[in-house]
């Protein structure tokens, strides 16, 4: 057995994992374990920007950002966490800049910022009496808050953090795939991982373990997520009895490349792009009269589905157009500067998007609109944590000693029922940094706790069982059925009927999953074996998603129940906690949303009163 010992083990080398590693390694012995080379992590795919109220181009405050985050999340956001996010975002961006991140610049050399959906500020000329449709009738107007580096902001963040890790001499175990947590007496004491190149098992003994394994969009058929995004961290924790929070909230991004799901950033619309249905109508005017194409993502995705259902998709099919041609931006006066733009400007702002469209659609967006459809994009739910990344044991708020989560695998919850664009990258750096600090602090205060004998035994047996099973059916069939079911029955719209159907299909798929094996029995890069184990994670998370969605009998943010079309604050102004019971989703509990109260005329009143969410 290969045995390693570090104060802090960080699983995952995306933005969250690397940020935590930079912090933790300043104080404590730290190693990063990642199934991908760090620079291959999906943070590198993030395009449009990272939010912080720097106010470099216009007035803005972190309070505006916090309000937008809470409203964008349809009030399911924990408000203290949202304030932490938006306040610390500002210093984190400066930190990244000092690390060398090449942000785009304003003419006076500051960090450049662009508009993004749902990011607003109060309209200085707002007049409640103004006639509808006029500028003065809008209570809030879009604000330039997304710091960016062309349309490859995530690439720059990932590269910069990795570069800093090299500079700081952080230890990496690249292409090591975590397969289990070592839990003893309700505490986390390490992980078990397989070295992909050799299939050897490694035990990592630690005082603090961070799960920063990213999202699980591969649960759905059409997704912007990488193959590697299979939710291993949350799934493995869930099997150990650790709850998952708000799993029913999964975000579909409105503008994925038709059929492939590759993302076309919201920056397209922030920079003036407009969506059209098959009849050439700018349909967002109907659904979000104020912000139109810059309404938040859940709103835009539902609007596209409704257009398609009404037969107004392009050519009657299930897609619409995203148009970023300069002439369109000028015609609809959607240019972010207020001045007319030309093709050269568009090319400079969105070079990668243009390249994706040319490569994968064979469409040149400088001259033609791009066919798009909603694509499964972001998990608002995940492992419940506090603002220091500590994973909660249950809805009472007690912690699991030694276990942390940050990034997309965690649910702090700053995204509530729907995340705003550019708020994930900032979540990674703000909470990655806080979590790294907390992990090191905890580790320095405490000796190593003992490990049980043969902590790798469970994993070893699981692998042997998969290898020994005959390949009754190809496991990809199970995966494809799961992805289709989740897309069709648990996607943008849901009902009790579709969810019940999904629940039953998933039970069948779990049974079939447990009876089929893999063809490759080798030990060198047996990626087939790992893909099967990843599928097991996705199946567990899919079940948790469906069960949580069935229980939430209301519509809020990304969770849209057609049989319960309105938000029900009397019953569901609270977070879902789901626990595993044997092989299936079990008990569901609820935890109140954290609400900030403030004193107004001697009375305590909510700082962010509930309101109907309109854009």
């Amino acid at each position: 057995m290969n045995y390693h010992r570090f104060d802090c083990i960080i699983v995952g080398s995306g933005g969250a994992g690397l940020m935590a590693a930079l912090e933790a390694s300043k104080l404590a012995g730290t190693a990063v374990v990642s199934k991908l080379y760090p620079t291959r992590s999906h943070t590198g795919a993030a395009q449009g920007g990272i939010a912080a109220a720097l106010a470099n181009l216009e007035d803005d405050t972190w309070e505006n950002h916090a309000y937008d985050t809470i409203k964008g999340g349809d009030f399911l956001v924990d408000q203290t966490a949202a304030e932490v996010l938006c306040r610390e975002a500002v210093e984190c961006i400066y930190d990244l800049e000092h690390m060398g991140l090449p942000f785009d610049r304003t003419p006076d050399g500051r960090i450049s910022q662009r508009r993004f959906g749902g990011h607003t500020k109060p309209n200085p000329v707002y007049d409640p009496a103004a006639p509808a449709g006029t500028e003065a009738a809008k209570p809030r107007i879009p604000v330039k808050r997304a710091c960016h580096s062309a349309d490859r902001t995530g690439h720059m963040i990932l590269q910069t953090l990795y570069q800093q890790c090299i500079k700081q001499g952080v230890t990496f175990f690249d292409e090591f795939h975590m397969l289990d947590l070592i839990m003893v007496e309700g505490e986390c004491r390490g992980i078990v991982a397989i070295e992909i190149a050799t299939s050897e098992l490694h035990v990592f003994h630690a005082k603090s373990v961070l799960l920063a394994t990213g999202g699980f969009g591969r649960m759905f058929k059409v997704s912007s997520n990488a193959f590697a995004l299979t939710g291993d961290g949350p799934a493995i924790a869930y099997r150990h009895g650790i709850p998952l929070e708000d799993m029913e909230f999964y975000q579909f991004h409105p503008t994925g490349i038709y059929r492939l799901g590759i993302l076309l950033s919201e920056a397209c619309r922030g920079d003036g792009g407009v969506m059209f249905n098959g009849e050439g109508e700018r349909f967002m005017e109907k659904y979000a009269p104020n912000l139109k194409d810059l309404a938040s993502r859940d709103v835009c995705s539902r609007s596209i589905y409704q257009e398609v259902r009404a037969g107004r998709g392009v050519g009657g099919k299930d897609y619409v157009y995203l148009d970023i041609r300069a002439e369109t931006i000028n015609k609809y006066k959607t240019s972010p500067t207020g001045e007319p733009v030309d093709s050269a400007w568009v090319s400079k702002r969105l070079p990668d998007i243009i390249d994706f469209a040319r490569t994968y659609l064979g469409v040149d967006p400088i001259h033609e609109p791009m066919p798009i459809q909603p694509t499964a994009h972001y998990a608002m739910g995940g492992l419940p944590t506090d603002v220091h990344g500590r994973v909660l044991r249950d809805e009472s708020g007690a912690f699991i000693a030694g276990l942390y989560s940050a990034g997309e695998s965690a649910c702090v919850s700053v995204h509530g029922a729907n995340r705003l664009g550019t708020n994930s990258l900032v979540d990674l750096v703000v909470f990655g940094r806080r979590t790294g600090r907390e992990m090191a602090r905890f580790a320095l205060d405490r000796p190593f706790q003992s490990l049980p004998p043969k902590p790798e035994a469970y994993v070893k047996a699981e692998i042997e069982a998969v290898l020994a099973r005959p390949r009754v059916e190809p496991w990809v069939k199970i995966r494809d059925e799961m992805q289709r079911t989740m897309m069709d029955e648990c996607g943008v719209f849901r009902t009790a009927d579709t969810l019940t159907k999904a629940r039953d299909v998933l039970v069948d798929l779990q049974n079939r999953y447990r009876s089929t094996g893999v063809q490759d029995k080798g030990t060198v890069f047996n990626t087939g074996l790992l893909e099967v184990l990843e599928l097991g994670c996705l199946l567990d998370l899919a079940q948790a998603t469906v069960a949580s969605a069935l229980a939430r009998k209301e519509s809020r943010g990304a969770h849209s129940r057609e049989d319960f079309p309105t938000r029900d604050d009397s019953q569901f102004f609270r977070h879902t906690f789901i626990f595993k019971d044997g092989e299936y989703p079990g008990r569901i509990g609820y935890k109140d949303v954290d609400v900030i109260l403030r004193q107004v005329d001697g009375r305590m009143e909510p700082k962010y009163p509930l309101e109907i969410r309109k854009y």
Partner: protein, 248 residues
Amino acid sequence: MSMRTLTVRIKRYVPERDRAPRWEEFKVEADPHDRVLDVIQKVKWDQDETIGLRRSCAHGVCGSDAMRINGVNRLACKVLIKSLPSDVLTLEPILGLPVIKDLIVDMKPFFDHYKSVLPYLINDDPPPTTERLQSPEERARFDDTTRCILCACCTAACPPFWGDDKYVGPAAIVNAHRFIFDSRDRGAAERLDILNDTEGVWRCRTVFNCTNACPREIKVTQAIQEVKQALLTGEVDTHSIVNIHQET
């Protein structure tokens, strides 16, 4: 466009099974809009699960799936079937790095070269409370080389690198360039010193294979020339984009 029947020839090497690399052929139905990556995975999932390859993002941004496709280095997820001139698709691992299994090579030597050029911002001045200022022109100066995804397409296409694996190779120089020409950086002298070594930029014979191989269309040879120029003149201009003539 209708489906095409492709013959996929893969240079196989499974260390537990093969003493030497060998060719294996598969027939597969492919949609012209499929990526080469889709086709390989189809073969892997439907016919032979033992085929080894790396992949993650599937749209050309993570740098996992560099391979030789019909003799040239490409990302399998960025080549569409409709662009193939014939129905034979030949796949081999990239050259110059040790093969571990099938299309998977050992990336450690590549990343070691990358790390050797100090690929991080060096500036010990205390930072201001907000951002350091940088003009749009200064930012544009090194924009091209910030786009590198470390896929190794360039380095593994470089004849001098095939002949001498101690040569740092184009990707490492690209990443050195990214910092040398960043107006905020103070480590240019140190990096230039490293690249002046016998295994540094002077190994480059301006073959241009690297530029042709780069899936991000980085002007790799130009970046190398700019570094050479800085060494020759002892000057680093971080303010304006210079256009060094690319011919040798």
